[in-house]
């Protein structure tokens, strides 16, 4: 595994020689636990450009995951850095304290990590060898070690010793694991049906159990947030289970959304789900009580009982005509990355469409992040967002490689116009 690490490092250096890569990270939103990485314990209403040598020396970041108040950064060299709230051990540094700056998770240095997820107060790490590690709060069994203990350093989940883990998704108090071979396992709190393992009410399980009703389905990706779970199949179907959306009853087994569209990506909040179609359109489940994207007039009371027992996937009308490349969901807000025209080489606009919150419009706590790799049509986004209450809509000109995230991380790489950075900051100041 050390060898693979070294290979990874070499690959980065080669990339750097061929194509100078500049990666920048911005953060904003809630910051009282150090999750912004600014070195201050303050909320930030505007994106802050981060300067931390520890991150720069670790190599380009491949994936950022935002939890309740902590952040996990995965570098393309398979290294992991964490910062923010650490009171439950979720940072994996061997102690239960907050970290204001990114710090390497040294106990994972012998493994090449390829996937990470951040829950409310726990963390999961998947190595290229198929090993799964978890740390943080285990009081609901969400670490999968067969007990309810918390751990402040990543511990290998022995249940999967003979299996090849591909992905982990951490929710508020539960976790989903996708195995090579497409089975989903779940553990942690199951009160709202989010484990999908039993029809009856399950308080929690600490030993991973197979999620039912998906055995015959080839699963491409999984998602978890709040008390929700979701999976996308290779053939484009969206499955959701757990807490009901928009006042509908909880579902204890995965339900396939009745839609003729095929989906390529799903993102979960605490009360809504977003799904991206292969035609670059965005659909939403629930979430209408804070206003529809682009249609703030259309607000429904949260407690209003729906006519149907099943939440209906509704197209986000405010994004009509927009070619959306990436979706992200915070607890109560959403973000999309899109093209403003159909020319992939000229990604010229980026905007965060936010859901207005009727309770908190004086506070701005947005987090979302995304990343484009490569150029032109090869651009790819990765990222996640978590908690927060956004109110603004940004229209950023000439800003292709942007990322933000709830607790707010924004980054870009491979950009060829250094002035864009200044331009971006200027635009935000005007807002």
């Amino acid at each position: 595994m050390t060898e693979q690490n070294e290979k990874g490092k070499e690959a980065i250096h080669e990339d750097e020689e061929e194509q100078p890569e500049v990666q920048k990270i911005w953060s904003w939103g809630a910051g009282t636990d150090g999750q912004l990485g600014t070195g201050r314990l303050e909320d930030e209403h505007l994106p802050q450009l981060l300067h931390f040598p520890s991150l720069a020396s670790a190599g380009p970041i491949f994936l950022l995951a935002c939890g309740g108040a902590h952040v996990i950064a995965l570098t393309s060299g398979g290294r992991v850095m964490t910062w923010g709230r650490g009171a439950s051990g979720q940072l994996g540094h061997g102690e239960m304290v907050n970290n204001l700056y990114p710090k390497a998770v040294t106990s994972l240095q012998n493994d090449f990590i390829i996937h990470v997820s951040a829950g409310w107060s726990h963390s999961g790490f998947v190595a290229d060898s198929g090993c799964l590690f978890t740390c943080g709060d285990g009081s609901f069994g969400q670490l999968g070690h067969g007990d309810y203990k918390s751990h402040c350093s990543p511990v290998r989940v022995s249940f999967f010793a003979n299996e090849h883990v591909e992905q982990i998704a951490c929710g508020m108090r539960h976790s989903l694991v996708l195995l090579k071979g497409c089975h989903i396992y779940a553990f942690g709190s199951g009160k709202r049906g989010q484990l999908g393992i039993s029809e009856g009410k399950i308080k929690s399980v600490s030993v991973p159990k197979v999620t039912q009703a998906l055995e015959e389905v080839k699963i491409a990706s999984i998602a978890a947030n709040g008390d929700h779970s979701a999976a996308l199949s290779f053939d484009g179907h969206l499955y959701t289970w757990g807490r009901g959306f928009g006042g509908t009853p909880d579902t204890h087994f995965p339900q396939c959304s009745s839609s003729s569209f095929l989906f390529t990506r799903a993102a979960l909040g605490w009360n809504h789900a977003l799904a991206l179609t292969d035609g670059a359109q965005v659909f939403m489940l629930g979430g209408s009580h804070h206003g529809f994207l682009g249609d703030l007039e259309k607000i429904r009371p949260a407690k209003q009982l729906p006519d149907s027992r099943e939440a209906i996937l509704e197209k986000v009308l405010g994004l009509d005509g927009t070619k959306v490349l990436h979706i992200a969901a915070g607890a109560e807000h959403s973000a999309v990355g899109h093209l403003d025209d159909l020319l992939p080489k000229k990604l010229s606009k980026w905007s965060a469409h936010s859901q207005k919150n009727d309770l908190q419009d004086s506070e701005f706590r947005s987090t979302k992040q995304r990343k484009y790799q490569g150029r032109g049509s090869r651009q790819r986004l990765l990222g996640s967002i978590s908690k927060s209450i956004p109110i603004a809509q940004y229209q950023l000109g000439e800003w292709p490689w942007l990322d933000e995230h709830t607790i707010g991380l924004v980054w870009l790489d491979n950009f060829d116009d250094t002035n864009s950075c200044l331009e971006f900051e200027a635009i935000l100041k005007k807002t």
């Binding site: 009282t32 009727d358 706590r365």
Partner: protein, 84 residues
Amino acid sequence: MSYDDVEIEDMEWNVELQAYTYPCPCGDLFQITKDELRLGEEIARCPSCSLYITVVYNIEDFLGDSDQRNKKLEPPKQQPIAVA
């Protein structure tokens, strides 16, 4: 408007805060103390934002708890006096 209705058994006792807590979407925790519960308070607030939740609980559970706690707390208080 209450963000959510949460049963007391789904809240976690936080020793440091001496309060029952539940995650708030802003990243902080909704909080309510045992004293508040004994008084019939059902709103748990988040110290960092304006959101609040409605706590679903049975007040009798906490009135009994109060008596027990007082009984448990009293002996240690008396002991030092006896020593003195």
